[in-house]
């Protein structure tokens, strides 16, 4: 005699109700595996943790190319200030030896950057 379809369905359904419960030992082994394989919090997530806001100088340094660029820029600023603020010495100290003849006649220092009046002066004959 063949088994009826409904009886087979009932038997299969009953089998579905009878679960195979995992033992405590198996659960412990699986959890030990899980713990052993669990990675620490990824670096990417740590980097996303709240951080203090960057200061103006830090942002400026990053915009200009880092600390090296900032150092070079600072040096240039200091040198520029020095050129601008220090009193220039008389040119004669530097060029006196080369322009001695001309200067001895006029009794004045060389004028490397003559003012505009020199170019505007007309020869009156």
């Amino acid at each position: 005699m063949m088994m009826g379809k409904t009886e087979l369905d009932d038997l299969l359904a009953a089998a579905g109700q009878a679960q195979m419960e995992p033992s405590e030992a198996l659960i412990a082994r699986v959890l030990a595996d899980a713990e052993a394989m669990q990675r620490p919090l990824p670096a990417a997530l740590r980097a996303r943790a709240p951080q203090p806001p960057k200061g103006l100088w830090q942002r400026l340094a990053e915009a200009l190319g880092g600390a090296g660029a900032m150092a070079g820029l600072g040096t240039a600023v200091v040198v520029g200030l020095a050129f601008g603020l220090l009193q220039p010495t008389s040119l004669s100290l530097v060029t006196g030896g080369y322009m001695a003849l001309e200067n001895t006649q006029t009794g004045t220092d060389a004028e490397l950057f003559p003012d505009m009046t020199l170019f505007l002066t007309e020869d009156q004959g």
């Binding site: 088994m3 009886e7 195979m20 419960e21 595996d33 899980a34 669990q38």
Partner: protein, 199 residues
């Protein structure tokens, strides 16, 4: 056995995998308690009721879950579907290894031999109806057994079974239908014993 209630019962499996990957130990425990009974039962059915081997397979499947958790991409598959697929493949490997060794599982792909196999016949005569069913399941061809167990014992829908077995839905329907016909044939003659068992 009385385990603590699932403290993350509202959290889907997929989110638990992500939580585990981020270092949450509670997520690992919740996933373990949620998935393991189903995977263990499924492995046991596929492996002919061998509990020790079913435990090994389940532990290996969970190990693979922990390993791939950091790379889990949400939305691609359900964790349970993925886990069932892993268990299916692991059981298939073990059944093939058994056959190569000439072990107990020798009739999986030859259901027509079931009635002539002393082990199965003797078990069906002596055992209760669940043991008879287990013996009949063990005698099914591998794919039929997987489809029948997933559909009628695990209670999964055909589309999910198709994903687990990596076949089409129509193929699932065909496998379950043929599997049930084969089961019916294998259990023939046991009807009276089964009815007595229900009484």
């Amino acid at each position: 056995m009385n385990h603590a209630a699932d403290p993350l019962s509202d959290v889907p499996d997929e989110a638990l995998v992500v939580l585990y990957a981020r270092g949450d130990r509670l997520a690992a425990r919740t996933l373990t308690l949620r998935l393991m009974p189903r995977l263990l039962g499924y492995a046991g059915r596929l492996l002919g009721g061998d509990r020790a081997e079913a435990e090994d397979v389940t532990q290996e499947a969970m190990m693979r879950l922990w390993r791939m958790a950091p790379d889990w991409r949400q939305g691609e598959a359900r964790v349970s579907t993925w886990a069932y697929r892993v268990v299916t493949n692991l059981c298939t490997d073990r059944m093939r290894a058994r056959r190569r060794r000439g072990g107990a599982e020798t009739i999986g792909d030859h259901p027509e031999l079931a009635s002539a196999t002393p082990g199965v016949e003797a078990q069906m005569i002596a055992a209760d109806r669940m043991a008879a069913l287990q013996a009949a399941l063990a005698a099914l061809p591998e794919r039929q057994r997987e489809a029948v167990v997933l559909r009628h014992i695990e209670g999964l829908a055909n589309p999910e079974i198709a994903l687990i077995l990596e076949i089409g839905v129509e193929a699932v329907e065909s496998l379950t239908a043929r599997g049930k016909r084969t089961l019916t044939a294998l259990l023939a003659g046991q009807r009276a014993e089964l009815v007595e068992g229900e009484g």
